[in-house]
Amino acid sequence: MDTLYKTDVLRLAAQATGAGKLADATKSITVDNPLCGDRVTFDVKMGADGKIAAVGHTVKGCVLCQASASVIGANAKGENAASLGAIRESLKAMLKQGAPAPAGAWATLATFTPVSGHKSRHECLLLPFEAVIQASSD
């Protein structure tokens, strides 16, 4: 009935890819959404090549926030702050201007297309990106 809670989204949230703490994190960042109380922590381990080697996340938030963190957990390896920033902008464009989802590895973000009609929930998807980007910047 509600297209936001399609099995795809629920499955992504349940998979929780990359959930958990990282013992050898280079940097760990926690961000809050004061509007709904969501809180996301990303631990990031950077490789010698300046790219992300591993991530771990802890999400106290809604299904959308969990699903978004899960997508990041599955795809963050090999990215850096700049490339993740570009992905975030694509996601924003998808949500706010109806742009297509990114191609390639991040194509799973298309799952979130129905969220575009619910402005109050955009932040739920963007918050994990905020955390991982900050955690992978120096």
Partner: protein, 418 residues
């Protein structure tokens, strides 16, 4: 509040007066509006009064001698009389129109706050809405007053057992909510007033959640200040009121400066008008006050006891329904009193593993409007280890179909989320 088994309350006749209840959510499902603690809807009588004022009597008030100005001034004065009667004020001038409850409490925090000094104490509670907490924190920064906090009982009530310990000779004000916007609990105002009187402290009640449930009697309550919002009591947004005892208000300095609140102005010095004008700087929310007056008229012709019985009965069904939600981690916990004794139909609950915003979103697809989050009562939620709760709040126009939609929608949500 007792819930009689028989009810004589024509909810469908009430519903017919609220145009918005006929709209379809997402163009598809009937609206089941259970977000009344955030904002209540407006009956036709109020919509008409607002429009009629702007079409027939619109002018700035006071000082004008032309026909429209006199009509507008009369309408504004009548609105004040109506609100004064609704709260049983001794005199009309005890009612000050403000931008809302928040505006009213900030007014007291500045005008009454200006009479306090470092070391004076203000007693609040751990159950307050941010609007009855942050203004006092800001006052603390300005003047060094000390804030002390009554606890909250396991049941979700302000713990008046703490009064004796917290209310000392240094206490100048006790400012607490009349009804909690999270737990629905009605505060034991008599105990608060008794404690305040022993030390000569003033009492402010935040009536935002109480005012939609029928007339208030500030004299019987024995308090000194009472704050309310029109938009929560079926009136327009943009207006509310502070009631204060005339002798107290009359002794306070002004808060905002501007037109109409002065007696004389020179570049060097100004002197202040009498109450209520002293506290109504600038052009007031005239049309909105008139609309608030119409809302009060509308509320006054409702049988408040029958309405309470009606909403109490519906709330009982929600409380039962939440308790019946079953087993494992699908258990719903009501955050507040578990029965309708001494509480209003504002029901917050938490479900382990289900985020309030997900619950609200799925319920929205069923046409049910709920609110999720900390409801501007972050300290209380933190004290329970909760980031947020989901809240269903009832008004007299809610019906059995609203409760059914809520309960079946919640079932759907929890089957998806847990």
């Amino acid at each position: 509040m007792k819930v009689p088994s028989q009810m004589s309350f024509d909810v469908e006749a009430i519903r017919a007066q609220f145009p918005i209840l006929r709209t379809l959510v997402h163009g598809r499902v009937p609206l089941h509006y259970l977000d009344n603690a955030a904002t209540a809807q407006v009956p036709e009588a109020v919509l008409d009064a607002v429009r009629a004022h702007d079409e027939l009597r619109r002018a700035n008030v006071k000082r004008g001698v032309h026909a429209l100005a006199e009509a507008a001034t009369d309408a504004y004065a009548n609105a004040r009389t109506k609100v004064a009667q609704y709260v049983n004020a001794r005199e009309d001038r005890e009612v000050i129109f403000t931008s809302g409850t928040t505006g009213a409490i900030n007014l007291v925090a500045h005008a009454f706050g200006a009479t306090l000094k470092a070391g004076d104490e203000i007693v609040l509670s751990g159950l307050e809405h941010h609007s009855n907490l942050v203004p006092w924190q800001l006052l603390r920064e300005r003047t060094g007053v000390k804030l002390r906090f009554l606890g909250v009982t396991e049941e979700g009530r302000i713990d008046t057992g703490d009064l004796e310990e917290l209310v000392s000779e240094r206490c100048k004000l006790i400012s607490v909510t009349h009804v909690s916007n999270v737990t629905g609990a009605i505060t034991d105002v008599a105990a608060v007033v008794r404690a305040a009187r022993t030390v000569g402290a003033r009492v402010l009640l935040d009536g935002a959640q109480r005012a939609s449930h029928g007339p208030v009697d500030v004299q019987a309550l024995g308090v000194d200040f009472y704050a309310l919002s029109s938009h929560k009591m079926f009136g327009p947004s943009g207006v509310g009121a502070l009631w204060g005892r005339a002798e107290i208000l009359a002794a306070l300095p002004p808060f905002l400066g501007g037109g109409e609140m002065i007696r004389t102005v020179t570049l060097e010095k100004s002197t202040w008008a009498d109450i209520p004008a002293r506290f109504e700087a600038g052009t007031p929310p005239i049309t909105q006050a008139v609309g608030m007056g119409a809302a009060v008229d509308w509320l006054a012709q409702v049988d408040a006891a029958a309405a309470a019985a009606h909403t109490g009965h519906l709330a009982d069904r929600i409380l039962h329904g939440l308790r019946a939600i079953g087993g494992g981690n699908r258990r719903a916990r009501v955050i507040g009193p578990q029965t309708m004794e001494r509480r209003f139909p504002v029901i917050a609950f938490a479900v382990d593993g289900a985020h309030p915003h997900d619950i609200c979103q799925i319920l929205d697809s069923h046409g049910v409007a709920l609110r999720g989050g900390h409801h501007c009562a972050q300290p209380f939620h933190e004290s329970r280890g909760l980031a947020g709760t989901t809240r269903a709040s009832l008004a007299l126009y809610n019906n059995a179909a609203d409760v059914d939609a809520f309960l079946s929608g919640l079932d759907d949500a929890l089957s998806k989320l847990t």
